[in-house]
Symmetry: C2
Subunit: 340 residues, 2 copies
């Protein structure tokens, strides 16, 4: 197996957390894949303010759940001791456990022992699968659209999920392809590209969007930023391995510098378009930008419209905020440019 | 420790191999660092045709050797059983063993046991050190020159070692910085950049060429190729982390396609210069190309001169074959452009 796969349906577990911001994986799971969620389990009364029934492990098992999914913030965080009784109970009941937190499930002896006994799996989505090959660059069938960014943490995953949803609504065949741990939890499969050894990044990206039907779109979650001082290698390898036909630049309206690298001005959208096109053309000469997705959360409705209209005129591209109005303008552009 | 370090002087060990092509790490070691080599140990009569005395382990130890260096071809290859008596004897005598072959020294129980007993180290130069941070992009003091290539296996290591040697002859302060296993064996230290996890490639490159005196040059071995379908992520991360002031493009006069990726035409030298400059400028706006190093082994002397002269006129850059006449034309350009 060279791709992580998580079995649905899921029981969402968020410890004692009831704030969706802190339980963003669990909340995101329900937002994007409600059909895969059976229930939620919270260690205090209440629960997440989402429309999922509170369940015990026995109830979830009875309802068909296959995996307990740890839904607290994927970046940072651990597995507190007070969760262990619950997690062990889940394993004893035959549920797999999947987590994207820093602490590895497979490093906790008590959980390993319980998993071994029941045959349940401990799935650490931050650990890439073994036996990833070097990228071949060979052209694959099907269409691919990659999210790229002027920075990290700028909406690439959200945009990809919104594009997948809006493409399906428009009658296109589309699958979100997850390249990061939160995305993998949501999609139930994928490869954590940033955890792959350098020589195999493009190869991992090739596995992530395999050969497909000619009119099928892989909507690939981006990572890092191609002009980022820390993560450009990952972005570059993902770009080259994805051989995208199209890409969307993700941006934040009010960000001026690379987040956490304050000496670095944010690259312009044009710079990102040009560099992505230059590099991507090596593996797919037809590559081009089909739109820009902007986080405009700091703007009011009037400002947002003005900003997006001006950007659209400047770049001659559809520019949207996926949270405010979806990505349909970009989908229309894609349909116009890729008629089947 | 977040850099591999091998203690000199070395006893070069090449098993039963006496052909310098097959024992290229050993032969290269002596070519570039004769002052670090105490002797050679070969399991049959003869030895490598290099000016190093044949020694037993006892003699090497007596002569001050600190490390037995396995000098057979670094790419591929293993540790044959018939070497184990000799390697165990070296560990018993307190010599470290360093190797860049695929098979890990640390996976051979007999060697692990002997090393533990004597306190000697087993150094697998393909395994990157732990605790590599994410790249910061912070400007470091000192000057850096990076080898980049139109392809893999095109002379980047050789060129870097030749540039280091010629810089020192010209009175400049210079250190070769090894980013691959053979280079690390020769330099005695370095980081195997292509074995580092994606998120930390730039950070590894930053460790490789740390803060230094203002007039000191780090001559950084390149990896992969920025437009390579398999390895561009590694090249990109190394470029961004190296924040080079200058770079040299390495090329092969008669190569038309990417070696082993026959569907891909070789990118032009101009394309590599432009992309390297665009990306590198993000971390060092002064970056520029100072020359081209070409493997012209397929050309005769007349053809070589014609080729290099025409290339030099086309690019307005010094173009050399480091094997045929050294890199002095490039060193002169560097001295002119970076007066101290």
């Amino acid at each position: 197996m060279n791709k992580i796969e998580i079995k649905a349906p899921y029981l969402i577990f968020v410890g004692s957390e009831t704030d969706p911001t802190e339980a963003k994986t669990g909340a995101g799971m329900f937002k994007w894949r409600p059909e895969l969620c059976t229930g939620q389990l919270v260690l205090k009364s209440g629960g997440l303010p989402i429309d999922l029934p509170l369940m015990t492990i026995a109830q979830a098992k009875e309802a068909g759940a296959k995996t307990l999914l740890i839904g607290t913030a994927a970046i940072g965080g651990g597995i507190p001791d007070e969760w262990l009784d619950t997690l062990e109970e889940a394993l004893n009941a035959g549920l797999d456990i999947a987590a994207g937190v820093h602490k590895r499930l497979n490093d906790i002896p008590r959980l390993c022992a319980a998993a071994q006994k029941s045959g349940a799996r401990l799935i650490d989505v931050r650990i890439p699968p073994k036996n990833i090959p070097v990228g071949t660059g060979k052209k694959r069938r099907g269409k691919r659209i990659l999210m790229v960014g002027t920075d990290c943490a700028i909406g690439k995953k959200y945009t990809a999920l919104a594009v997948e949803k809006d493409m399906k609504k428009a009658g296109l065949k589309a699958d979100f392809r997850a390249s990061g741990q939160t995305g993998i939890m949501i999609a139930g499969k994928g490869i954590p590209i940033d955890a792959v050894v350098g020589d195999f990044i493009s190869g991992a990206a090739e596995l992530l969007s395999p050969d497909n039907e000619d009119d099928h779109w892989d909507v690939i979650e981006g990572q890092g930023g191609i002009l980022h001082p820390g993560y450009s290698g990952v972005s570059m390898g993902l770009l080259v391995g994805s051989q995208p036909d199209a890409f969307i630049v993700c941006h934040h309206a009010n960000r001026t510098h690379i987040s956490g690298w304050d000496d670095f001005p944010l690259p312009s959208i044009e710079d990102v378009i040009n560099l992505t096109t230059t590099v991507g053309a090596q593996v797919n000469p037809a590559i081009h930008c089909v739109g820009v997705s902007v986080n405009t959360s700091d703007l009011n409705d009037n400002e947002r419209k003005g900003y997006l209209d001006a950007l659209s005129a400047r770049l001659n591209l559809p520019c949207v905020d996926p949270l405010k109005g979806g990505t349909n303008k970009i989908i229309e552009r894609i349909i116009a440019e890729f008629p089947n």
